[in-house]
C-alpha cells in the first residue's frame, strides 16, 4: 500500500474552491518529538518558485476534463494526497512538486467550438529550489507526452468501435 504524501499549507496553500483539500491534514506532524511552529507562518509563505513549465496540446479527440483524472490514476505513486493534481518527484537529491492543470479557455474560445478543442492544453508546472535536471525537463515530460498520445489513441479507438 502507498503511504500518501501530504503537503503543508505553508508550502502550497490549498485551493480556495477545493473543499476536500482544506482538511485537518494541513497540520504539520510532530517530528522527532518536536512540535512544529506552523503558527509563525502564513499559508503559502514558504512556497517554492516555479522553476520549469511545459504545455502539451490536448487533441480535440480527447476531452480536456478527462485528462487530469487520467494522469491522477497514472501517477498515483507520485501523488500528493491532499492536493489535487499535484505530484512529488525526487531527482538527483532535489525534490520538486509538479502541478498539472488544464487552463480554462477564454470565453470567446469557449463559444467557438472548433477553437476550444484546438487550443486546449495540459500545463505542467514544476516548483522547487533549483532548476530541475533532464530527468524532469525531458524524460518526465516525454513520458507524459507519450501517455497523452496513447490516451488519445484509446479515445479514437473507442469512438471508432462505438456506433
Amino acid at each position: 500500500m502507498f503511504v500518501t504524501r501530504r503537503c503543508s499549507s505553508l508550502l502550497s496553500a490549498p485551493a480556495a474552491n477545493a473543499a476536500h483539500d482544506a482538511s485537518d491534514a494541513e497540520a504539520l506532524p510532530v517530528e522527532d518529538d518536536e512540535s512544529p511552529n506552523a503558527g509563525s507562518f502564513s499559508p503559502g509563505q514558504l512556497a517554492c518558485d516555479l522553476v520549469f513549465h511545459a504545455s502539451l496540446p490536448i487533441s480535440w479527440r480527447l476531452q480536456g476534463a478527462r485528462v487530469l483524472p487520467f494522469f491522477a490514476s497514472q501517477f498515483e505513486y507520485l501523488a500528493v494526497g491532499n492536493r489535487a493534481n499535484t505530484y512529488c518527484y525526487k531527482s538527483k537529491d532535489a525534490i520538486f512538486y509538479i502541478m498539472f492543470s488544464v487552463p480554462e479557455l477564454p470565453q470567446a474560445d469557449k463559444d467557438d467550438k472548433e477553437a476550444s478543442v484546438k487550443s486546449a492544453e495540459l500545463r505542467i508546472d514544476v516548483y522547487g529550489l533549483g532548476y530541475p535536471s533532464e530527468e524532469i525537463t525531458e524524460k518526465f515530460i516525454q513520458g507524459v507526452e507519450a501517455r497523452l498520445a496513447k490516451q488519445t489513441l484509446d479515445a479514437l479507438s473507442t469512438q471508432l468501435v462505438t456506433p
Binding site: 503537503c7 518536536e34 511552529n37 514558504l46 505513486y77 529550489l129 516525454q142 513520458g143
Partner: protein, 175 residues
Amino acid sequence: MLLAISQPKETTIQYVYEQLTQQSGVATRFSRPLSFVYTKKGTAYFLDQLVREPVGPFKLARSDAVTYVVSGPRLPSAYDASISALSDSAEKGFPPFWLMLTVRRSTLHVHFFSSLLSEAQQKTLIDNLFLVVDQLVERVNQIILLEMVHKILENNCVLTKVAIRCLSQDAAVPS
C-alpha cells in the same frame, strides 16, 4: 589575523571567540531571530547549509562550537581612510574583520570586530549578512517541507523507481 591561517586550530578559534565574547568593548554584537518550521531540525540544517557552500558573498567554516566567516563581500572603500590596509588584507585572501556566529534558542548571535572597516562599511557588511541569513532560513524551511512531502516508506521508493523506469520506456516508444 589569527584566522588567516588556512586551517586554524580549534584552540585558535576558541581563543578568538573568547576575545570577541568575553572582552567588553572589543566586539560588536548583533542578534537575529531564526524562525524554523521545526526548531531542532531547522537549526541543524541551517548550520550545515552555512558551511556547505558560499552563502551569498560569504564563505564560512565551522569549528566545534562556532561558525566563522573566512571570506566576505567586496566592500566599497571610497569613504574609508584605510584603503591600503583593506586592499592588503583582501589580496592576502582573508577578510579585514572577525565575524563569528552561534545559534542559541532560535537566535543567531553575531560577534563582529574590525579595526579597519568604517562604520558604514560595517553596517553594509552586517546588513548583507542578515539578508543572506534570512534567505537561507527560508530555504531551510522549504527543504524541510519538501522532504516531508516526499517522505515515504522504503517500499514506495522501490515502486517509484520502477515506475519512473517504465515512464522512460513509454517515452522511448514511438507514438
